[in-house]
């Protein structure tokens, strides 16, 4: 493996697929970049003049942008918090020797296989509907006024739905990590007089740090581009209360047929994603080393 010759050969062999992957990424990116500098609206056919940074100016100064930017952060942060905490709890529960453990594990994983649109619809109509939803019935039964989830707490409702989808993923990754913990360490801690809390805090949690990092990084990538759940439930509303960047770009480019403005938004989203990625890698990426 390690001779100069074999390394050169390996590079040559890799070359075609690297080029293919690079083109796959670069071409759309360059096209988006190109469109973002044009006055390009499908409703106004013209000669698509070059307008410089005008599209960016419109996108960034739009009051909806700031709101959707923070919505995006809230959405990502909230879902991460719920899935990591809940995932650790579930993983610890699933690690116990309970009867029918294998079946329970498969059941827990099920939400991950449900399509986002479907699960959002199920939540919207079965649980969160202010008239017929189970939560409304439950509130009525307790004597409270039912909550109109998507009108009163739209962003939180979406956070709950998305967390439900991603909880199994986090729990599964963390469960495998817990199972790789050397039991003798826990026994040594037992002998050393550590109670359940000390064992969790000093031994289990540090052991999980790498898996938690992986879950945060992977989930962040997907959560930055949440779309279907918003489209199906609130359509970004009321107002812009549950619009994230991805959804804002959609309303710009597809609802207003403004290719130029949408492209500028796309580029802004790419930049934001990269900033978040760099920030995360700085913050927790060192856990993945060694």
């Amino acid at each position: 493996m390690a001779t100069t010759q074999s390394r050169t050969l390996a590079r040559i062999m890799l070359f075609p697929s690297v080029i293919l992957l690079l083109a796959w990424m670069i071409v759309p990116l360059c096209m988006t970049l190109y469109f973002s500098f044009l006055d390009y609206n499908l409703l106004i056919p013209g000669n698509n003049d070059f307008v410089g940074f005008l599209n960016y100016e419109f996108f960034l100064t739009d009051p909806a942008f700031i709101e959707s930017f923070f919505n995006t952060l809230w959405l990502v942060g909230g879902v991460l918090l719920i899935t990591i905490c809940g995932g650790i709890g579930l993983a610890i529960l699933l690690d116990q020797a309970i009867w029918g453990r294998n079946y329970v594990r498969i059941m827990v994983l099920a939400p991950f296989f449900v399509m986002p649109t479907v699960s959002a619809l199920v939540w919207k109509n079965m649980f969160m509907n202010p008239v017929n939803g189970l939560f409304a019935h439950f509130a009525n039964w307790l004597g409270f006024a039912p909550v109109d989830f998507f009108a009163q707490i739209p962003l939180l409702s979406i956070i709950i739905i998305v967390s439900w989808q991603w909880l199994p993923f986090a729990a599964l990754i963390l469960l495998t990590a817990i199972q790789s913990l050397d039991r003798e360490q826990l026994e040594a801690a037992d002998l050393d007089g550590a109670g359940p809390f000390s064992k969790f805090y000093y031994i289990v949690l540090p052991h999980l740090s790498r898996a938690i990092t992986a879950v945060i990084l992977i989930e962040t990538i997907f959560l930055l581009s949440i779309f279907a759940e918003i489209l199906v439930t609130t359509s970004g509303g009321p107002g812009y209360a549950s619009t994230n960047i991805t959804y804002l770009i959609y309303t710009q480019s597809l609802l207003q047929f403004d290719v130029g403005g949408g492209s500028a938004g796309g580029i802004v989203a790419v930049i934001i994603a990269n900033i978040v990625a760099i920030f995360l890698m700085r913050l927790i990426g060192k856990n993945l080393e060694d």
Partner: protein, 345 residues
């Protein structure tokens, strides 16, 4: 204080009986070694003493108090695991401090105890490293350090040297023995290696299939093994066993003679055979001699052995070095042997 008494202790995993009813008294300050082939229940018994495994029936007493149901941390015992079980995310210092912090010892006292453990075990240079940055021998020392700072009434070791290479094992063996002499604390040491057992133990308990075959000092076991199993397990190379034809009035069914007690002789010996493989170790030589109708006998000769592969040799052993076993493998006292006891085939 650190005397431990096991009374009719048993352990079953489901239907499988791993420890048969077992009695053992471990005296305060004693270095006792549990030795036996792997899978015979040594670790299980040690873990029961530590409290990591429930006792199915019987009692475990520590210093005269029934501790059968006491949780591990309350038993005042410290264990050194085969995998060392160091906490990988903590520095060596924090690993050693962990039990003290859990016991809410004052920080100044913790520092003093770490310093003294570091001195005893030569840990000074790597107190701030993580376990992953240490060699096997150093990790072993840290694990021992974590055990000694608690000042337990007894130490439990589960095959602590089996992950080390041969020369390091010899060193650590000496260090642990040295530690026992200086601390004078009870130590229970589990191993499958009879050399470790012989060299370190005050007393050895030989395990086989969940029962203790014999307990005694190393030399007692070497000189007077109660049965064929103990005779074969203690001593290296292994004792030679020869089946003999039943003779009226003599219950002997097999005899055993240790390689070091077999001699090559010019005169007519007890057996005649052809030399097979010769292993020269410098200070001594192991000869594997094929004897017709008996099998291969191992002989421990001195270093300068002139014999060659294929040589014809006569072998002999003095009568009082030959052990007799009955058909259950129990060692027979010399009174019960017949006259023709030794003559094979």
């Amino acid at each position: 204080m650190g005397s431990i008494t096991l009374k009719q202790v048993t352990k079953s995993f489901g239907d499988v009986n791993v420890i048969k009813p077992l009695d053992l008294e471990i005296k305060d300050g004693e270095f006792i070694v549990f030795v036996g082939p792997s899978g015979c229940g040594k670790s299980t018994l040690l873990r029961m003493i530590a409290g990591l495994e429930d006792t199915s029936s019987g009692n475990i007493e520590i210093d005269g108090n029934d501790a059968t149901k006491t949780p591990p941390a309350k038993r005042g015992l410290a264990m050194v695991f085969q995998s060392y079980a160091l906490y990988p995310h903590m520095s060596v210092r924090n690993n050693i401090a962990f039990p003290l912090k859990r016991a809410k010892v004052a920080p100044a006292e913790i520092e003093a105890k770490i310093a003294s453990a570091a001195k005893i075990l030569n840990l000074g240079d790597y107190l701030d490293r993580k376990p992953g940055q240490l060699s096997g021998g150093q990790r072993q020392r840290v694990a021992i350090g974590r055990a000694i700072v608690r000042q337990p009434s007894a130490f439990l070791f589960d095959e602590p040297l089996s992950n080390l290479d041969a020369s390091l094992r010899v060193n650590m063996r000496l260090e642990i023995s040295e530690l026992h002499k200086s601390l004078a604390t009870t130590m229970i040491y589990v191993t499958h290696d009879q050399v470790e057992a012989m060299t370190m133990a005050d007393r050895i308990a030989v395990f086989n299939g969940g029962v203790i075959e014999q307990v005694g000092t190393p030399m007692e076991l070497y000189r007077n093994p109660v049965n064929r199993f103990v005779a074969g397990f203690i001593g290296s190379p292994k004792m030679n066993f020869i089946d003999v034809k039943p003779v009226d009035g003599d219950p002997t069914r097999s005899i055993g003679v240790r390689p070091e007690h077999l001699k090559v002789t010019q005169e007519q010996g007890l057996w005649t055979g052809k030399v097979g493989v010769i292993e020269h170790l410098g200070s001594e030589t192991f000869l594997h001699v094929h004897v017709d109708g008996v099998g291969t006998l191992t002989i421990k000769d001195d270093g300068e052995c002139p014999l060659q592969y294929g040589d014809q040799v006569n072998l002999t052993a003095s009568q009082n070095k030959i052990m007799h076993f009955d058909k259950e493998g129990v060692t027979l006292a010399s009174l019960s042997w017949g006259d023709n006891a030794v003559v094979a085939q």
